[in-house]
Structures are given as C-alpha cells and as structure tokens.
Amino acid sequence: DVKVTQSSRYLVKRTGEKVFLECVQDMDHENMFWYRQDPGLGLRLIYFSYDVKMKEKGDIPEGYSVSREKKERFSLILESASTNQTSMYLCASSTQQQGLGTEAFFGQGTRLTVV
C-alpha cells in the first residue's frame, strides 16, 4: 500500500517564522509535488520535483522554496510566513514508469494557520 506521510496535520505559526512542511513517501516514486488547496480555487501546484535535487516551479511558487535531498522526502519551506499563506497544503507522489497511469498518491494534508 502506497503511503505518503505529511509530518503535521495541523500547524499554527507566527508571521515571519520560517516554516518547514515535510513529506515522505514509501513507494520509491520519482515525482513529488506540493499543492496548496483553498476553497473555490481547487488545488494549485506550488513546486514539483522529478528527481533528487531537481525541482520545478509550479503555478504559485512565490514565497515558497523546496528541498529534495533524498528520493523519499520532499520539503516545502516558507521562508517568512505570512497570513496569506494560511491554507491547506497537500503533498503527492507519482511514478514515472510508463503504463502505470501516473496516478498521484496524496498525503492527508497539513492545515497551516499563520497568525
């Protein structure tokens, strides 16, 4: 069973803090993603990574950075948290192997509140 685990389910941080959201997957997937989910806006891609140390900007990368030092772990970093980054953050992973449908597996989400 594929498992994507996010380090926190709920998180409250202060404005200006540096915030780390961690995500670990156990299926040896090449691709990993960070999405932000807001009501009425669906899921918007922040960053994705298709290999260790590789990263690509998604649709809304401003204010975020990522790190992928190991294949199984993908971290989202808010360098200086702001109230407009209060949101639900979803991590996902998928394989690059052709024929397997590129189904993405998701973590349970981290609801981040910046006060």
Binding site: L43, Q96, G101
Partner: protein, 115 residues
C-alpha cells in the same frame, strides 16, 4: 497551458439516484490522462477513476463511470446508485503522458448526498 474547468461548484443527489459531474479541459496534446479524485471530509484525496486519452472506451469502476468526449474535451463523471459515503469534493484532473507529469486540477465540485 493546460486548464481544467469544473462548472458546478456544488451538486446534490438523493440516495440511490444517479448524478453526473461535469469537467472540460483544454490541451494541445494528443496523449494524456484524465482523472477524477474524491476528497471526503477526512481530507484524504483518493483516485476514483482514470481515463487514457488514446482509449476510446469509457472507463468504469463499479458505480462510477465516465463519459469521455475527446473532440469536445469533455470528461464527465457519473455516479450511479449514490450512497451517503459518496458525499465529498470531487476534482477533475489532467496529466500529460510524459515522464515527469504534473497534475492540473479543476476547482472541484462539492457533492451532497441526501438520505
């Protein structure tokens, strides 16, 4: 850029009835995947059904089926014999059939199932 549009922010259905959720997408690619994901109140995003664009036959998974119209770029989800457990947010998603795919999501449809 690829876009996915879900025109129904909310839908409701009576238990045991059938409901259809709409999705349209825009792409210039010929090979791609389309997905419907379900996100119940528990927040865990799970795959409901997947369609490969090169397959003409509509995908079916038990009570869930799709109507895939490639020329019209339409991908609707039909839920038959609706159950209370079907209540959730439903997201339509697109992925290019390449090696390092990313999922592009619609804004979601909230489905309510009335007893």
């Amino acid at each position: 850029a690829q876009t996915v549009t879900q025109s129904q922010p909310e839908m409701s259905v009576q238990e045991a009835e059938t409901v259809t959720l709409s999705c349209t997408y825009d792409t210039s690619e010929s090979d791609y995947y389309l997905f419907w994901y379900k996100q119940p109140p528990s927040r865990q995003m799970i795959l409901v059904i997947r369609q490969e664009a090169y397959k003409q036959q509509n995908a079916t998974e038990n009570r869930f089926s799709v109507n895939f119209q490639k020329a019209a770029k339409s991908f609707s989800l039909k839920i038959s014999d609706s159950q209370l457990g079907d209540a959730a947010m439903y997201f339509c998603a697109y992925s290019f059939m390449g090696g390092s795919e990313k999922l592009v999501f619609g804004k979601g449809t909230k489905l309510t199932v009335n007893p």
